[in-house]
């Protein structure tokens, strides 16, 4: 990610508005539609993205004029107060900052959140690029040396991500750092902190030569950005380990293909990543303690059946397995066979299966 690139994009946006005004027109912005109908799953690239439909925001009505001014304020705020100063803030911070201008002030945080998504859509970059960062937690551990590019105070500093046994929290600084040296051969993304912790303790990073990532449930965008970079820039294969339930399956799928919510942002998906498990079919195969699917799970499976991302044979088979078995299992279920069973009996076997 290039700071100059973002600043240039903001500059273009400003110029376009000035042009409208000096041409005696209402200022307007045209951007891709984020409606369900315009969210497209591209089967070839295996990525969710926005289609060709556009909408135009025009400052010609009372409501629109205010929203328009608010949008430009957010852009201005992030340019002047965040990017230029090498600082960041959360969505909540942004909302409170608007209180300084009574004309701009957002009534609810919901409104400023929506505008941030709007700017993401206009620029095609996630908000992390203009330094408005999420509060989700996710961590990384592995033999990778990085060099910070921001904030200014840490610029140029190098760190090896194997130094902290708790893992390094993935934030703006790691997501935007340069990769200096990497001795790992693969990336394993894990849905749960507890299993991530066990993998560190059992030295999976050493045994498999892997970088471990705790996605903390659904992977935040920084984490997805970093996984993609590790895959694209360092050519590391990516494997994803989740619970055997519709939700875990979807965590994997979002890392691979992206989500509808961030369809307006490019460069978040890692189509080459692979879902290692636990698959529905593994529950029986490994005779795992299981829990019956509840109403919510079943409903989720029905929705997934209609989702184009799950049309591929393997994925639709897994959905059918779930519907057939009517049960789910957690990663911890392997503890039935001992605490390290998930590594010895499952992970290593699964990896070799996938490689063949």
């Amino acid at each position: 990610m290039n700071k100059e690139e973002i600043l240039e994009k903001f500059k273009e946006l400003g110029k376009k508005i000035l042009e409208d005004i000096t041409n005696n027109n209402y200022p307007s912005i045209t951007l891709p539609q984020r409606t369900v109908r315009n969210i497209i799953y591209d089967k070839n690239s295996r990525v969710v993205r926005l289609g060709e439909k556009k909408i135009t925001r025009k400052a010609s009505s009372l409501r629109q004029a205010k929203v328009f001014a608010q949008l430009l304020w957010v852009a201005y705020f992030s340019k002047e107060n965040l990017i230029k100063k090498g600082k960041s803030c959360s969505l909540r911070d942004l909302y409170y900052n608007s209180f300084n201008d009574i004309k701009i002030k957002f009534d609810e945080q919901d409104e400023s959140d929506k505008i941030v998504v709007e700017i993401e859509t206009i620029l095609g970059y996630p908000r992390e690029y203009f330094h408005i960062i999420p509060e989700e937690k996710s961590s990384i551990f592995g033999d990778l040396t990085i060099e910070y590019t921001m904030p200014e105070t840490h610029k140029g500093q190098r760190v090896n991500l194997q130094t902290d046994p708790d893992g390094k929290n993935i934030g703006l600084s790691i997501a935007t750092a340069k990769f200096i040296e990497c001795n790992a051969k693969m990336v394993i993304a894990i849905e749960k902190g507890a299993i991530f912790r066990r993998f560190v303790e059992e030295q999976v990073y050493k045994r498999l030569n892997a970088i471990l990532i705790d996605t903390g449930g659904q992977a935040p965008r920084f984490t997805r950005m970093l996984i993609r970079r590790l895959n694209k820039e360092l050519n590391l294969p990516v494997f994803i380990l989740t619970d055997a339930d519709p939700w875990g399956m979807h965590i994997a799928r979002v890392i691979i293909s992206g989500s509808a919510l961030s369809a307006h942002i490019n460069d978040l998906a890692t189509p080459e990543a692979k879902w290692l498990g636990i698959w529905a079919s593994d529950i029986k195969k490994y005779n795992l303690p299981s829990i019956p699917l509840n109403q919510l799970d079943l409903h989720r499976l029905e929705t997934m059946k209609r989702d184009p991302r799950y049309e591929e044979d393997f994925w639709s088979e897994q959905i059918n397995w779930f519907l057939k078995l009517k049960c789910k299992a957690e990663l911890e279920a392997f503890s039935k066979y001992g605490l390290t069973a998930i590594i010895d009996k499952y992970l290593i076997k699964k990896l070799s299966e996938l490689k063949n």
Binding site: F10, G14, I17, L18, T22, A65, A69
Partner: protein
């Protein structure tokens, strides 16, 4: 067997004074002013004269505590009364002798006679009258009383003067025992509302407290109502009997054709056929059952609607009156085409006024001004048919909140017979035909007001939008400059130009 005592009409009215609005000294005071003013107005309008009326009320010190002896004097420029008619017009209470229709305020001047009678009974003073008819060279001066038991005029004094100035009209003066203090507010309200409907009237009112002048604002006199024959559907059985009794010499066919509107030779013959009688059948031979049969045929026969020639709507005068009093920013007015109920013709005219001096109604009230035959109806508006219509209309359709906006409604109904619900003549019954006409008339006005208000709201919205948009465009411009790092100074006109583009 019961024995009936024969009494004169004068005595009858005296014994039943509450019927005519004299039940207490306060009410009597109001009724007297009202009856005299209305007689004066009728005396002018009947001949197309712009009314010039003066009312003087003088509270004397005498009386029984709260009730005082009051001297009232009313002067008008009406047609006056021929000398020979004066004793009977004021000195004898007569039952109606005319069998024709015309819109009047009072009926056969009865109210005026009741006023004099009441004055005589309470103070025992005679009434003074000065009158002259149009073109008369003499002024006639009478001092007289009513002999209540005999129902005869008793002239105490008569004099003639030379009419040097060619004056015509009537001056009437008498005393009565009344409570002016309590009735004053109601009297002033009555005069005020009258001036709304009759801006062509000039009225000076004086009492012990001061003088009130309603100046003429219009010279547009309503059409003089014509006298028409009775409509067969509008007659009651008693009246039919009396009509027959004074036409005994006629043949049945002549009787029908001469006395009723909408009955020609053909219809008369048709009716006679239904009675199983001959056209030449003498009226005097009609038996009671024949009369009842005739009455029923009248009720059921499909006659043409009654003529509206006998009616006199005020028309544009209402607009002039409302403008003068309320100075509203908008008025919608219309006069409906004549309609009828039970053989009585009527015309509805309504106005809706908005803004100006019209007050925003206080909790759940409605600014409604009602008039019937040019008389304001001041009390009991809650039960009136007009109020019902207004409450039944869904004002949301017109985007009008009648409880929260400065809106006033004006309804004038003229008819040869106003369907009052009570003896007090303060509110009008819910007659379906009347209800419908009032509704149609008000709705038409409501649509006009709604269009006006929409326009006004749009204008206000545009104005607000303009300044609001400009403010935000300035912001947008400011941020866009900072984003692009351009240092442009934009002329104010451009921002204004964008806003006023559409």
């Amino acid at each position: 067997m019961l024995k009936f005592e024969e009494i004169s009409p004068s005595e009858f009215f005296y014994r039943n004074k509450e019927i005519a609005g004299f039940e207490n000294p306060t009410k009597a005071c109001y009724t007297i002013v009202r009856e005299l003013v209305e007689n004066s107005l009728d005396a002018c309008e009947i001949c197309g004269i712009l009314p010039d009326i003066k009312v003087v009320i003088n509270e004397t010190g005498e009386g029984d505590g709260i009730n005082k002896i009051i001297k009232i004097k009313v002067k008008d420029n009406g047609i006056g009364i021929p000398k020979e008619n004066v004793p009977y017009a004021f000195g004898k209470v007569l039952y109606g002798s005319k069998f024709t229709l015309r819109q009047h305020r009072g009926i056969f001047g009865l109210g005026g006679k009741m006023a004099i009678l009441y004055g005589q009974i309470t103070t025992n003073n005679p009434v003074k009258i000065i009158t002259s008819t149009i073109g008369s060279k003499l002024l006639h001066f009478f001092v007289m009383q009513i002999d209540i038991l005999k129902n005869e005029p008793n002239i105490l004094r008569y004099e003639e003067f030379e009419n040097k100035e060619g004056w015509h009209g009537l001056i009437i003066e008498f005393t009565f025992l009344g409570n002016y203090y309590n009735s004053r507010k109601k009297i002033l309200e009555y005069l005020f509302q009258t001036s709304i409907l009759l801006p062509y009237m000039n009225l000076v009112f004086m009492d012990n407290y001061g003088m009130l002048v309603f100046k003429r604002k219009s010279s547009l006199l309503p059409k003089i109502p014509e006298e028409t024959l009775l409509h067969p559907k509008g007659i009651d059985l008693e009246m039919l009997k009396r009509l027959i009794s004074i036409n005994k010499k006629e043949t049945l066919k002549c009787f029908l054709v001469k006395n009723f509107q909408r009955i020609g030779n053909k219809i008369a013959e048709d009716i006679i056929k239904q009675l199983n009688l001959n056209p030449d059948f003498p009226v005097r031979k009609l038996k009671d059952e024949d009369i009842i049969k005739l009455y029923n045929i009248f009720k059921n026969y499909n006659f043409k609607k009654p003529s509206s020639k006998s009616l006199s709507p005020v028309g544009e005068n209402l607009i002039i009156g409302i403008k003068e009093i309320f100075k509203p920013e908008f008025i919608a007015f219309n006069t409906r085409k004549p309609s009828s109920y039970e053989g009585h013709p009527f015309i509805v005219e309504t106005a809706i006024a908005y803004g100006g001096n019209i007050p925003i109604p206080s909790d759940n009230e409605i600014n409604l001004f009602r008039f019937a035959n040019k008389i304001p109806l001041i009390y009991d508006s809650y039960n009136d048919v007009s109020m019902k219509v207004i409450k039944d209309i869904n004002w949301n359709l017109y985007k009008i909140d009648i409880y929260k906006e400065p809106i006033a409604f004006f309804v004038h109904i003229c008819s040869t017979k106003i369907p009052y619900k009570t003896l007090g003549k303060e509110y009008i019954a819910n007659v379906p035909e009347l209800y419908k006409e009032i509704e149609l008339s008000l709705r038409k006005n409501a649509r006009k007001l709604s269009a006006y208000l929409n326009k006004k709201r749009l204008y206000e919205y545009q104005k607000k939008r303009y300044s609001y948009l400009k403010e935000y465009l300035e912001k947008i411009f400011d941020f866009a400059c900072k984003l692009s790092e351009a240092k442009i100074k934009i002329k104010k006109e451009i921002l204004e130009g964008i806003v006023s583009n559409e």
